[in-house]
């Protein structure tokens, strides 16, 4: 169950963060922020290879006792970070994978909007709805 989903820009500032719970939101923000280091590490590790070969889905970044953090990088170096609850062991890797893909699709839709300037915070309602549904559905 995804408790927090974040979209991080190339310059490592957040474009969009949404948590499922309003309390402890700061904790999730902090988690996402610290996970960026891991993301960068993974990117640079694969970075020698060609971009095509680099896998978009980064997989489990690091687990803690409460939750797991998954990462995903797009071609334009926009990162998606998802914090999932550890208690839900039924979440398979490919489920997370598909969730990221959906996320990516929604992000592309946001980008296709000519009124959206890349680098702005994402205010799209459709995007919000999609993410909320994703977080809810997996619960």
């Amino acid at each position: 169950m995804a408790v927090c989903i974040a979209v991080i820009a190339k310059e490592n500032y957040p474009l969009y963060i949404q948590s499922i719970t309003t309390e402890n939101e700061l904790k999730f923000h902090y988690t996402v922020h610290t996970s960026l280091d891991v993301v960068d590490e993974k990117i640079s590790a694969m970075g020698k290879a060609l971009v095509d070969q680099r896998e978009l889905y980064l997989g489990l970044l690091y687990p803690t006792e409460d939750y797991k953090v998954y990462g995903y990088v797009t071609n334009s170096k926009v990162k998606f970070v998802m914090v999932a609850d550890s208690s839900n062991t039924a979440l398979r890797d490919n489920e997370i994978h598909s969730m990221f893909q959906k996320l990516h699709n929604s992000y592309i839709d946001v980008m296709c909007n000519p009124f959206y300037n890349p680098g702005d915070c994402i205010h799209s309602r459709a995007f919000d709805n999609m993410l909320t549904s994703m977080m809810m559905q997996v619960c």
């Binding site: 839709d109 909007n113 009124f115 890349p118």
Partner: protein, 646 residues
């Protein structure tokens, strides 16, 4: 029961009169009958379920006839006699209502003739349903009373029961469903007719849902309510019965999310101004510029875009554009933006009541192809858009039905000049906002297989400019041509030499056609053989007939010189051919030559005009710059003057 197209006998136990009913009437009556019928037939008569008395009463009252007329009708049709409204009585009653509404006296004889369908409760459309008239407009009108009543049936009848009636009669082979939308209403007619043909007893609301289902190919049982409701939305005239219970607010005539005919034409014209090809699309940047003129805040515009660009390809097809425009107008008029796109604004291929269900399937298939996303949606756009005109004509037919007063007053209720630019002027939208979830039903299936999605991602994850489109130059917002001209001309001016005008096709006597008058042409034509000598007198004449302004003349002359230099060689070749031409039938040839010369003169004059226009614009530009310099210098002077004075 009779099988002939024109007839149907009154049901058993009825008044015993043979009631000629047209197909339309049959269908309508059967529908009304089922409407009034409760699922558990009253009176317990299995073969001939009776209409519930209260519902019948409501229906009759909806016909807006005076009460005593209704009483008369009830008596005449035999319901009073038999004590219930069987199908026969009901039909007779309906026919009598129709007669009464047409002004005929309430007699049995009056219903023997063909009559328009009975009107119920402010159905504005003229129910001049004649069976033979297969015109679509009639089909539309016919459908609309269906729709209105079926909306009633929504709330009243037990829909679940209606769906799969045990008594649903076998569909007659007559209702062969051709798929083209133009025959759609015809199909409905046939459909209903076929069903009702099989006997009044058995007929039990062959579910309206099925009848109105968009799945023409399917059997009667596959009506789906969702599609029907949307179909009703799209097909409904604005004149809706108040009797109808408030269901979706979109049914109401003052639905703000319905695009009227005038509005749609306006939008189409605006689309054309941005992109002349109606089947193509407007790119994101062009649309952004255009919609920004509306002075709505950017987040709202962003949201509107999100709503209207249903395939999320960063470009707007015509229906998407109309939807976006409509939303902007609505917003400008104060309506809050919906969270999802209202059904009526969906492009046709996505409306649940799409009249081409096959297309939906085809679209889904096309979606599930593993194409790169942008290409995929683009192709999808194209394939869909190609079918658009039919649907548009369809919608136009639907909306061609009479407008209610509401819309007329809305048109009068002008919102002034909303934006500085004309496009958004004086469009108004009516009152109620509708929520609908049809956008969620959009068949957005991007292929989730990893390889294709990576390709898609790579292509899609570009900086915000949409993927390059074949027509790059369809933006009309910036007058690119003028810009080019300015640049060209400014360069030329600086260099003191105009760039050569676009290549003029070599013509005889090009230099002469630079002039205005044709009269000069002919003597010059005669001078054609001696082109070299002709060039100097022509040049002089050109100089004489220069446009008034001096600097232009100089450049024009130089241009002419260039032209002449350019054209001398081709013209010399032409002139060599001319003497050959001349000996042949000189009289006729001369007149045709004159005509040709005149035409070439006209062409040349036009080109000269174009050149002059460009020159004019360029010089005006220079004038502006000079003005600016002058103003700058004057301010400098002002600044310096106090110093010097002191």
């Amino acid at each position: 029961m009779e099988q002939g197209p024109g007839g149907a006998a009154a049901g058993p136990g009825g008044a015993g009169l043979l009631l000629p009913l047209s197909d339309a009437e049959q269908q309508r009556y059967s529908e009304l009958f089922s409407l009034c019928c409760s699922p558990a037939p009253e009176g317990g008569s299995a073969p001939a379920p009776a209409a519930g008395g209260s519902k019948v009463g409501d229906l009759f009252r909806a016909s807006q006839l005076p009460a005593d007329t209704l009483h008369q009708i009830t008596e005449l049709c035999g319901a009073k006699r038999v004590g219930y409204f069987g199908p026969a009585q009901f039909y007779v009653a309906l026919k009598l209502i129709a007669a009464a509404q047409s002004g005929l006296p309430i007699r049995i004889e009056s219903i023997k003739s063909e009559l328009p369908l009975p009107r119920f409760m402010a159905l504005k459309n003229d129910n001049e349903m004649r069976y033979g008239n297969a015109a679509e407009i009639h089909g539309v009108k016919f459908q609309i009373p269906h729709a209105t009543l079926e909306k009633n049936s929504f709330k009243r009848a037990d829909e679940g029961d209606k769906k799969q009636e045990t008594k649903s009669p076998p569909v007659s082979p007559m209702c062969s469903p051709p798929a083209s939308p133009s025959n759609y209403q015809r199909i409905l007619l046939n459909y209903g007719y076929g069903k009702s043909r099989s006997g009044l007893e058995q007929q039990h609301g062959v579910p309206y849902e099925a009848r109105h289902s968009t799945n023409l190919q399917d059997g009667p049982a596959t009506g789906n309510y969702g599609s029907k409701s949307a179909l009703v939305h799209s097909s409904l005239s604005r004149s809706l019965s108040v009797e109808r219970e408030p269901q979706d607010s979109s049914n109401y005539p003052d639905d703000p999310w319905r695009i009227t005919e005038e509005q749609r034409e306006y939008y189409i014209n605006q689309f054309k101004s941005l992109q002349p090809d109606l089947n193509s699309f407007i790119s994101g940047s062009v649309a952004k510029n255009f919609f920004t003129k509306s002075k709505l805040p950017i987040p709202e515009l962003s949201h509107i875009w999100e709503l209207s660009d249903v395939d999320c390809d960063g470009a707007l097809t015509l229906p998407e554009f109309c939807a976006a425009f409509h939303l902007i107008v609505a917003r400008k008029n104060g309506y809050p933006l919906p969270d999802t796109l209202p059904e009526t604004l969906l492009p046709d291929y996505l409306q649940p009541a799409s009249l081409k269900p096959k297309r939906d399937c085809a679209l889904l298939d096309s979606y599930s192809e593993s194409l790169p996303v942008s290409q995929q949606t683009r192709d999808f756009n194209r394939t869909e858009v190609r079918k658009l005109p039919e649907d548009y004509s369809y919608i136009k037919e639907f909306t061609l039905v009479d407008h209610l007063a509401i819309h007329t007053y809305l048109w009068n209720f002008l919102v002034g000049y909303l934006f500085l630019s004309l496009p958004f002027v004086h469009l108004t939208v009516s009152l109620i906002v509708q929520e609908s979830n049809t956008l969620k039903a959009r068949p957005r299936s991007r292929s989730y297989s990893s390889t294709s999605i990576e390709d898609a991602m790579k292509k899609g994850e570009e900086p915000p400019t949409p993927p390059p489109r074949p027509q790059k130059a369809h933006s009309r917002a910036s007058s690119l041509d003028l810009n080019k001209i300015f640049q060209q001309n400014t360069q030329a001016v600086k260099s003191g030499w105009l760039p050569p005008p676009p290549a003029l096709p070599p013509r005889p006597f090009v230099s002469q056609t630079e002039q205005v008058s044709e009269i000069e042409l002919q003597p010059q034509m005669n001078r054609a053989p001696s082109q070299t000598e002709g060039s100097s007198p022509t040049r002089k004449e050109i100089l004489l007939t220069q446009p008034p302004s001096k600097p232009i003349r100089r450049k024009f002359r130089s241009e002419n010189q260039m032209l002449e230099n350019q054209e001398l060689t081709p013209t010399s070749s032409m002139t060599s051919s001319l003497p050959a031409v001349k000996p042949h039938l000189p009289a006729q040839k001369q007149s045709s030559k004159q005509k040709r010369a005149i035409q070439t003169a006209i062409r040349k004059n036009k080109e000269a005009n174009a050149v002059l226009a460009r020159l004019n614009s360029e010089l005006q530009q220079q004038l502006k710059e000079v003005h600016k310099e002058r103003i700058a210098l004057e301010t400098q002077l002002e600044q310096l003057r106090p110093v010097t004075v002191l």
